[in-house]
């Protein structure tokens, strides 16, 4: 909360199980290469349908992290 500068990235996670899980997957994948992720913000919730069932949830988020 000091005078940092933050950068945002936009990511889309996907999951067979739930919308919350699609968000978790996007954050976990991002944290492999980005340190200091502080927050996420949901932009869009979509998904693919096959044979009348949800095949994948796709959730687009912004993540914010501190520039060191």
């Amino acid at each position: 909360m000091s005078e940092h500068v933050y950068k945002s990235l936009e990511l889309t996670g996907s999951s067979k199980s739930s919308s919350d899980d699609a968000i978790r997957r996007a954050i976990e994948r991002a944290s492999e290469t980005v340190r200091n992720i502080k927050w996420f913000h949901v932009q869009d919730v979509r998904g693919h349908v096959e044979d009348g069932k949800i095949a994948h949830w796709q959730v687009t988020i912004k993540i914010g992290f501190t520039l060191e």
Copy 2:
């Protein structure tokens, strides 16, 4: 992904249990009469409250399907 034309419909599903379940119910009901549903896109998440508890989740989605 070829040169198809897609049509969208707007539906609202409701569920006593969760927001994701309200989406699933809307898609399953639609697939009784609409073939070839390819995707959904969440527009709005609402719900009814009774006695300080969520009585129903109501989620409005667009669904898209191929015109054959």
Copy 3:
């Protein structure tokens, strides 16, 4: 559904477990002091990230209740 007047409030609930749970917590906290809550409407879904994991979900909702 008669000729009532309704008032809306904006609240943000937080939860360690899920986005739906953050909504439930906001409504349950509000119903301690507000009677006659009739509906909620999701405005925004965010959260805090710590060590590459979601630490808290934060969901902003409007709730509506009857003015008696």
Copy 4:
């Protein structure tokens, strides 16, 4: 308010007399072929002008109805 699925349609009603009347006309015309209309939601209010007077009000609404 049970676990129904609702469908929305977008209509534009027009009227020479008023914006409210254009809404009424769209709903009455729709109810000739759609049963179980439950609500409407105004999207857009426009109109045509002739000789410096409003010739027609045109109001676009969404209507929602229960899928049986």
Copy 5:
């Protein structure tokens, strides 16, 4: 227009007769408990339909008043 601070509230008025009347009812109800209401701003116009007719207009407004 001096250096006052204003507060906004969001209300939904309903009326069997017209959209304008739903606004009037919300303002009159609010002025029973809020002094110094200065303005309103329409946010949303909706309504309930029964038997193919508009049963209630529901108009959501913000009202603004001076904090004394």
Copy 6:
């Protein structure tokens, strides 16, 4: 409907009686100096409140006219 070019202007009409009347007044005032007004499109509905009653409706519209 031929290959004309149209210009839009933004106006706010006010009325003591109704929202529709505020629109009519804006169009009638504009047509004193602008010829060939073809359409209007409502942007915003507001108003002033005095002593718990609506003192003035204020409706902002765009009007479009043909450039000759």
Copy 7:
């Protein structure tokens, strides 16, 4: 321009050649089954990329037609 009621549908056309062509294809496909289409309104322009080239343009439009 008389006191008709119009209905809107949302369609997505796709084309290998251009964004305008994707719109044309959606309208031509729709006019096989819908009479009296009067207008279209672009909602969204997207596309698929393969090997660094645009493979398909996808344009979502609303079309409006008279209810007879």
Copy 8:
């Protein structure tokens, strides 16, 4: 890019051939009477349909020019 003041106007161009051409026509018509047009910004793309074909493209733009 110095300390100028710019003014914007909103125009709608129409064309039988393409959306880009409708923009060009609006700018060329405006430049007959407005000097120093610097930029345009697309607001809306619509059109008229006749007999299942696009009869006119109508594109609404803002143009900006320097106040001298």
Copy 9:
């Protein structure tokens, strides 16, 4: 950042000197009666003009505070 519930209020501050000062005034006035204000979020920046000069800046913000 624990599992609190937050409430938002919408306020408009005004100032003769600057937009930032209008925000400060709204927050300082609110903190006379609301404890635990945590954040603000600018919604709208407006002002009144008299004799070709800015007479008052008016900035509408949301403020958020912890429900204890």
Copy 10:
């Protein structure tokens, strides 16, 4: 606040020093030719960067004035 009709114009002011100053410059330039400016409303805040510093602030506003 009587039954006037107001007109809006969109202007962009620029300034080397601050965002507030860009607004002041747009209003002062407009008041050379427009009488009775009553209000402004900020639409957009942008700027040019040169050598890693802000070279100009550019703020787009709407101004409203009474049609006499």
Copy 11:
């Protein structure tokens, strides 16, 4: 369409010839350094005007690609 994570970037392409060409140029430039671009989504269409003619089209798009 499996459980990938996608990343989005925002780019602005420019072209002397057409809006579609500005999009193509942005995608081709991006594909020099980004592999696996899957889609684009138009955000904004603008351009520069010189001597009453369009000098450059400028189209801002988001592109999405798979994180491997």
Copy 12:
């Protein structure tokens, strides 16, 4: 203004003193690693409040730069 391709990044600057200063800090920090920054565009103005005073301004901007 030639046929370049531009890329945008989203950053949030923070400052104890003013909203304009938060923007300046974000741009200066970005220009340590990004060459050819040409413009910024304000997306969101927020801040933290402590003890009834603004502790930090937080301004989210997009910056655009030339891809060489």
